[in-house]
């Protein structure tokens, strides 16, 4: 037993947080964000663009989804996108992040999401996608991300989300997949990457989303998890991903969507979070950053807009909290994830 002297401190550990500058934006600049995303794909020789090729297909999904949420999907080059997605499908059926790269579940989900946005699943070999996803399930129910064997609950979500969008969930062993995800549940009610891993909001989103798709949210202790999630809100209004971490706009998605799925979105202070998200906009270039004053990118722009959508922002389409796609698309496909 550890011997620790009981001592009292009048001031505890200072809270790590971001500050919102006085001149930070308070209005939503939708026009600027549409221009930012529309221009992003045009800079193909840009240094950043080239260096992020390993997640190009994910980037296409982020860009198209946020444009659709902002009612501007028609500004994107549909033919070019679909041709690119088609070329990313590999002989094994999975999709690579870009042409010449290797197939992976992360890019495969993005590909299926993009195809669903455009209602264009016929462009690719759907049976091949199903075979690829199926081939990655292991005996314990977990999923590899690709043939090299990394296991992560992110991949459990990707697999199940992908197959649900294709209406082919019966291709895998759902019960075993659920059992594996449940092994990753922790003392705080949250979930980690693998059995034994620490809780992280991103993994919570994946696991809660996965359980929502297969209709097994009753396995979650929603009050305990909801408490941990609402404690992610910091005095600045922003949300962090784990205790003692800085707030970040992408967590306005991972935390908020998880809370929405378990019916506890109202446990955080919406006004303060909206203020934080708006403050991360760049009023010159458009786009959202992780924190006020930082560089913007499409990833944070999607999750900023999607977070605002979940909180009922006017002029943005309602977003589905499980698939992070517009509700009208999810309705068209006919998928009905469970919400508490």
């Amino acid at each position: 037993m550890l011997a620790v002297n009981i001592s009292f401190r009048s001031q505890g550990t200072p809270i790590k947080d971001a500050s919102i500058p006085e001149n930070a934006p308070t209005d939503l600049f939708l026009d600027k964000h549409r221009d930012f995303i529309a221009a992003y794909g045009a800079k193909k020789d840009d240094y950043e663009y080239v260096l992020t090729e390993y997640l190009r297909l994910n980037g296409v999904y982020w860009g198209l989804t946020v444009m659709d949420l902002m009612g501007a999907l028609d500004r994107m080059n549909k033919d070019e996108v679909l041709e690119f997605v088609r070329q990313c499908q590999q002989p094994c059926g999975g999709f690579s992040a870009s042409i010449g790269h290797d197939p992976h579940l992360l890019s495969t989900l993005s590909a299926v999401q993009v195809l669903c946005l455009y209602d264009a699943l016929d462009v690719v070999r759907v049976d091949g996608v199903v075979e690829f996803v199926k081939s990655l399930q292991q005996d314990d129910g977990s999923f590899y991300g690709d043939k090299w064997g990394e296991v992560d609950t992110r991949f459990s979500f990707c697999a199940v989300a992908c197959l649900a969008l294709l209406d082919r969930l019966n291709a895998i062993n759902v019960d075993k997949a659920v059992d594996f995800v449940m092994q990753c549940m922790n003392f705080d009610g949250g979930f980690g990457c693998r059995p034994g891993s620490e809780t992280h909001s991103g993994q919570i989103y994946c696991c809660v989303g996965m359980l929502s798709i297969v209709g097994q949210l009753h396995r979650i202790n929603a009050d305990t998890l909801g408490w941990w999630l609402c404690e992610r809100q910091l005095p600045s209004g922003g949300l962090n991903g784990r205790p003692e971490k800085l707030p970040d706009v992408c967590y306005s998605w991972w935390v908020l969507s998880s809370l929405k799925i378990i019916g506890r979105l109202h446990w955080i202070n919406k006004d303060k979070l909206i203020k934080f998200i708006l403050a991360t906009q760049d009023d010159e270039t458009g786009g959202f950053a992780d924190r006020p004053g930082d560089m913007v990118d499409p990833f944070h722009t999607l999750f900023g807009i999607a977070g605002l959508s979940l909180m009922g922002q006017a002029n943005i389409k309602p977003v589905n909290p499980v698939f992070c796609m517009p509700e009208d698309v999810i309705r068209r496909i006919g998928v009905k994830p469970q919400l508490l």
Binding site: G12, A97, W148, E198, T199, G215, W227
Partner: protein, 586 residues
């Protein structure tokens, strides 16, 4: 056979790529800096130069892979790119192909050196990008495929990286991998968490690891936390030290909440209803179940003969409520002795119900007055422990009046000890919580609603199928699964915006939700017994919001006075069309 490789790992020079890894994309926390046109131009030229090198290197790497050139140069060129951009996963895959080739084609000594070189290279990458999934995963692969893996060195590497950043979850995961692969005694790992916590209590990662280790080192299946009682006492002492040292540190409080535990409770039937009219038997449980799954079997017999029925639930999934249609000749006008048997690995419950000849329906239900349904939340700890913890928290509360964690824990402890005795205190403490932590006010008032509803349910007379929750400042509803047999339910004069599990109220005929904040009736669906619904003074503004009521086939009267839609002259006609035969008050 290839010559012995001597890897030149990362080139350091004005044009090498690894100088730029701080601005590769999507790295968080890149501060936007205003620059002059001149600076921008200089940066543009520099980046153009860098881009050319990067693109050239990528092209070379891809060509080499295509030509299956698994050589020293391939390792070097991919190494240069990955040092700058460790998330370029395809190149890690190429490196694994190269290493696999080397392992089966080179001499043992060179294989060993190459794999050790790979570990050295990875360490350099991780120093620059300690949170790269790809680098950590590749390290796992390299160690798994190493001819002479030195696991002791790996554990030291974990120690080093956890000194740089004690919360790096990639490194913690790698540590668990190393521990598993090399069978490090878990007692030593437990001592490591103790050491980490003693240097900094505010280390959520260590507390987490501890929770996992305790369940393996000191398992106790009879406790819901899964940890032996005597060990738990030590943990309570440690965590008390932590929160007395820094009462605002959430890590310790989350851990404390876990120690107090939640007992799962054994599955039990909540009610059985037999209806001659509907030729149906309904059963409800205190937990959501799926009959036919998880080893759960439910048998029905009438007058001593087994009846082969199909159990159905509303969504063909896990549910509190299950129905079975009974062939009409088995529940005809004579006396029917109904028996339900619930069997699973842990449960064997037999419950009987008599539907007498003259009865249209019959009901059996478990008594709601027994307190233990609601004190399960902290079921792992003994009363003695709970009392000790309460005394400690009250002592801390005296010193730190505004500390929300202390207040919240006091609420939970009191609620677990005796909700009836402590009810007023609990409500007072919750009111204080909404003052000191207004950001999470809704969390606290929902908790209050839960406790208030629990108390009302407990005080409810077992034979009366009527329950009154009016004027209780409810912001949310709870435990509706316990109200399946209630006929009259009053939820009026509260602050409800929705009733998410309303379909559980399968027996309700009279439902009063006057003076709340409902903007829709979406949730009032599939209530087969509902006859009278009162929704006076809510926020319902559109006739479309009433659509779900169509699924309540016995609805006879609906009161919508004082709702925004009452102001629309056309509403009455539209509702009449939607719900024909229902008497509407507007």
């Amino acid at each position: 056979m290839d010559s012995q490789p001597k890897l030149k790992l990362v080139e350091k020079g004005p044009c090498s790529l690894d100088n730029y890894n701080n601005d590769y994309f999507f790295q968080h926390g890149r501060i936007k800096v205003k620059t002059t046109a001149e600076q921008q131009e200089a940066k543009r030229i520099e980046r153009e130069k860098k881009l050319k090198i990067y693109q050239g290197a990528t092209k070379t790497a891809f060509e080499k892979r295509k030509n299956r050139e698994y050589d020293h140069e391939a390792l070097e060129v991919t190494g240069n790119i990955l040092a700058a951009n460790p998330d370029f996963y395809t190149l890690w895959n190429f490196r694994r192909e190269i290493l696999t080739h080397i392992k089966s084609n080179w001499e043992e000594e060179n294989v060993f050196k190459t794999f050790d070189g790979e570990l050295y290279f990875l360490e350099q990458c991780l120093k620059v990008n300690p949170k790269s999934y790809g680098s950590w995963q590749h390290r796992c692969w390299t160690m798994e495929n190493h001819t002479k893996p030195d696991w002791t060195r790996e554990l030291k590497l974990c120690n080093k990286f956890l000194e740089y950043d004690e919360r790096n979850f990639h490194c913690w995961d790698y540590r668990r991998f190393v521990v598993q692969m090399s069978s490090v005694p878990l007692k030593e790992e437990f001592a490591f968490t103790t050491e980490k916590i003693s240097t900094n209590f505010s280390n959520f990662s260590s507390w987490h690891y501890r929770s996992k280790l305790l369940q393996i080192l000191h398992p106790d299946k009879s406790s819901s936390v899964g940890v032996a009682e005597n060990v738990m006492l030590d943990e309570f002492e440690l965590v008390q030290n932590a929160f007395f040292t820094d009462p605002n540190d959430q890590s310790a409080w989350f851990y404390h909440r876990w120690l107090l535990g939640k007992s799962d409770g054994q599955l039990s039937l909540q009610c059985i209803q037999a209806s001659r009219d509907l030729q149906r038997v309904l059963i409800s449980f205190d937990q959501q179940v799926k009959i036919g799954f998880d080893g759960l079997v439910v048998d029905l017999s009438i007058n001593g003969s087994p009846v082969n029925v199909e159990w159905l639930s509303a969504k063909d999934n896990y549910s509190y409520i299950w129905f079975a249609s009974v062939p009409s000749d088995l529940m005809n006008d004579s006396n029917s002795a109904i028996e339900i048997t619930v069997k699973s690995e842990k449960v064997h419950q037999v419950q009987r119900l008599n539907l007498a000849a003259e009865q249209k329906s019959a009901l059996w239900q478990k008594e709601l007055t027994s307190m233990n349904i609601f004190t399960r939340d902290l079921g792992a700890a003994t009363t003695e422990t709970l009392n000790q913890e309460l005394a400690a928290c009250q002592q801390l509360h005296e010193l730190e009046q505004d500390n929300k964690w202390t207040l919240l824990t006091i609420v939970w402890l009191m609620q677990a000890l005796n909700p009836l005795v402590h009810h007023e205190d609990v409500l007072n403490y919750i009111a204080m919580l909404t003052e000191v932590d207004p950001m999470r006010k809704q969390f606290y008032v929902d908790m209050r609603s839960k406790y208030v509803m629990e108390l009302t349910i407990q005080k409810c007379h077992p034979s009366v199928l009527e329950i009154d929750f009016s004027n209780k400042q409810l912001t949310s509803t709870h435990h509706l699964e316990l109200l399946v047999s209630m006929v009259t339910i009053n939820l009026s004069n509260n602050q409800l915006t929705s009733i998410p599990s309303c379909t559980l109220l399968q027996s309700v005929t009279d439902l009063n939700i006057d003076n709340n904040l409902l903007s829709s009736c979406d949730f009032i669906a599939n209530l087969p017994a509902l006859e009278h619904l009162s929704l006076k003074n809510n926020e319902i503004s559109s006739v479309d919001d009433l659509l779900a009521l169509k699924s309540c086939s016995r609805l006879r009267s609906l009161d919508l006075q004082g709702n925004p839609l009452a102001r629309n002259a056309r509403s009455r006609a539209e509702i009449g069309l939607l719900l024909s035969g229902v008497e509407i008050q507007l």
